[in-house]
């Protein structure tokens, strides 16, 4: 597979930085919501919306689009931010997050914003719906793919593994599950709350193909996502190892940022840090 040209990589890294800024701006405007997960998945959503997905922001219900499902609905700010920058709606609309009448509900609602594909928030539910969509594509002999973004902690839910079993039975190699492996959940470390390891081996034993990468390394992410497109008669999981709160130094690695937004002062500091990082990325180009 050809490596990504350096200038394209830089473009995507700069875009991911802007997506992070959008997350911080929307969270502080909302006054509630989750911070750590959205920030650590900014690289993956940027890779998907700006490089990997077959989609058209001006025609969000295009029949042959790839389907991107966010199973862990609580990290919605990253999806909303990436969608805004990709052209689905104005970036300023991010400031309506979680407010009355908004299309950007606290947890995603498809009926209000159809390009979300599903309504999500209750954990462990996305892979099941994605499996249904991937199966429909196979039945109709369509070549679009289904991407399901999941949190690591939602792998504690039984339904997720029902879906993993069904997807393998039907050889859904058009189904790609991406795990935000940040090791945190509301009550602490995933390995303290309810151990998930060996997570990759669990998938192997369920007859999935397993890829692993650094989920905050744009080049590595793109490599894995491109490789996943060519399934070997099996569904693929990408274990994306991420650093919670990535890009905002005072949040990085601290599970207490899982479920709260920054204050105004904290947001200003975060935005200043991200703006400085943006300048460094662009200067490097």
């Amino acid at each position: 597979m050809p490596a990504l040209p350096a200038n394209r990589l830089t473009e995507l890294q700069a875009q991911a930085n802007l997506v992070r800024q959008g997350i911080i701006r929307s969270l502080v405007a909302a006054g509630s919501g989750h911070s750590a997960g959205p920030l650590d998945m900014a690289d993956a959503f940027t890779a998907l919306y700006f490089h990997v997905l077959r989609h058209d922001p001006k025609n969000p219900e295009w029949e042959d689009r790839d389907r991107l499902l966010l199973s862990c609905g609580h990290i919605a700010p990253v999806r909303y931010s990436a969608m805004a920058y990709a052209g689905y709606f104005p970036v300023e609309e991010l400031l309506t997050l979680r407010k009355f009448g908004t299309r950007l509900q606290g947890h995603p609602e498809r009926v209000r914003l159809p390009s979300l594909e599903t309504t999500s928030g209750p954990l462990g539910e996305g892979l099941g719906q994605g499996t249904g969509m991937a199966l429909a594509a196979k039945l109709d002999r369509k070549d679009w793919r289904v991407y399901v973004v999941t949190s690591d902690a939602e792998h504690q839910a039984g339904l997720h593994w029902e879906a993993a079993m069904v997807a393998a039975k039907f050889n859904l190699d058009n189904l790609i599950c991406i795990i935000d492996r940040n090791f945190i959940q509301i009550d602490g470390s995933t390995e303290d709350v309810m151990p998930l390891e060996p997570l990759a081996d669990k998938y192997r034993s369920f007859n999935w193909r397993v890829l692993e990468c650094d989920g905050n390394d744009m080049g590595a992410l793109i490599d894995s996502l491109e490789q996943a497109k060519h399934g070997a008669g099996k569904p693929t999981v990408i274990v994306a190892h991420t650093l919670p709160g990535k890009g905002v130094s005072y949040m990085e690695g601290d599970y207490t940022w899982h479920g709260k937004p920054p204050t105004k002062d904290q947001a200003a500091a975060a935005l200043a840090e991200l703006a400085a990082a943006y300048e460094r990325i662009v200067a490097h180009a």
Binding site: V111, E117, T119, G128, Q129, T131, G132, A163, M165, K169
Partner: protein, 338 residues
């Protein structure tokens, strides 16, 4: 057929003569589902049947044999049944998913609410083995709370047909109609009272017997018991209207309010907990618009148990004699309040 003039309502509805109990055909309502599903699948290739290891007892087997390319077996995965069907529906499929009502919707309620209803997907749940008439399997397998958990969910259609032919018609009707749906039916053989010519329209309750002393509003296989009770009461001069109230949601408020106004007393009859069931909805409508005395036939805050189906129906107070007694109570309350 009943003779016109003897009972105009029954004639208009093309009912069989239900007064001759021994001559009635006995067919499980689930058989009607199985037959209807095959027809629906042949008419529309987007109709899929998905089963969770109960193909024979939910009567999906015939569909699996006739239309194997539209049939999916996913094993003991009731939550997945709903989530996966929602995914399939979002790409234009019309998935029918079947299990025992206790497990789907019972086990999968949150998936039903989020992925089917809030997400507005065209999934059809077929809940088999509802009610205590499941019999020997016992309380774990007797769903008597399922209407109560489905009724409050926005967008949900809830249909409980009265016999096998009507279950077939209901299956075909819900396949044609867009929207998240719960279709409920039973395991045991039950009396066939409707015919090919009996009309069926979702949301339109049917008057199976005329009368204005007390209205018996029933659903499911107990509609037959309601008719039998009305027949018995007629001999004592109490003339009951019998309404087959097959659509629990959205309920036919016009027919219910007409029953309240014209009869002045109502007895509701269902094989379900009284709490939150069909009768509860009737009471909401009547209390808000035209209050009259109501008596409720159903299970009163108990679980079922193993036993012979008919024996269980009697034990839990849903037999013909219990309905007769409830009508007498309602009739007396009406006389006192007049």
């Amino acid at each position: 057929m009943l003779e016109t003039g003897n009972d105009r309502a029954a004639a208009a509805m093309h009912l069989v003569d239900y007064r001759e109990a021994t001559s009635l055909k006995q067919v499980p309502t689930r058989n009607g589902f199985g037959e209807g599903l095959v027809e629906a699948g042949k008419a529309n290739p987007n109709v899929l049947a998905i089963c969770a290891d109960l193909a024979e007892s939910t009567r999906m087997k015939a569909f699996a044999d006739a239309l194997p390319q539209q049939y999916l077996e996913i094993g003991v995965h009731e939550q997945m049944l709903v989530a996966m069907a929602a995914g399939l529906a979002s790409v234009g499929k019309v998935p029918f998913i079947a299990s025992y009502a206790m497990f789907c919707p019972g086990r999968a309620w949150e998936q039903v609410r989020t992925t089917m209803a809030l997400n507005e997907t065209n999934v059809k749940i077929a809940g088999a083995h509802a009610g205590v008439s499941v019999g020997p399997d016992g309380a774990t397998h007797q769903a008597i709370e399922d209407i109560a958990i489905m009724r409050p969910i926005p967008h949900m259609l809830v249909v409980v047909p009265c016999d096998a032919p009507q279950t077939k018609k209901a299956t075909l009707a819900v396949a044609e109609r867009w929207g998240p749906t719960y279709l409920r039916f039973g395991r045991e053989k039950s009396a066939v009272i409707t015919t090919e010519d009996t009309p069926f329209e979702i949301g339109v309750a049917q008057t199976f017997r005329d009368g204005d002393d007390v209205a018996i509003v029933a659903c499911g296989i107990l509609v037959y018991n309601a008719l039998a009770a009305a027949e018995e009461l007629a001999r004592d001069g109490i003339v009951c209207r019998v309404v087959n109230n097959h659509t629990i949601k959205p309920m036919d408020e016009v027919t219910i309010l007409a029953a309240a106004r014209e009869c002045g007393a109502i007895v509701t009859v269902e094989e379900h907990q009284v709490a939150g069931g069909m009768g509860s909805r009737v009471a909401e409508i009547v209390a808000a618009r035209h209050p009259v005395p109501i008596e409720f036939i159903g299970v009163h805050d108990q679980f079922g148990q193993s036993g012979d189906p008919a024996e269980l129906i009697e034990y839990y107070g849903m037999g013909t004699s219990a309905i007769v007694a409830a009508v007498r109570r309602a009739f007396e309350r009406k006389a006192r309040t007049a």
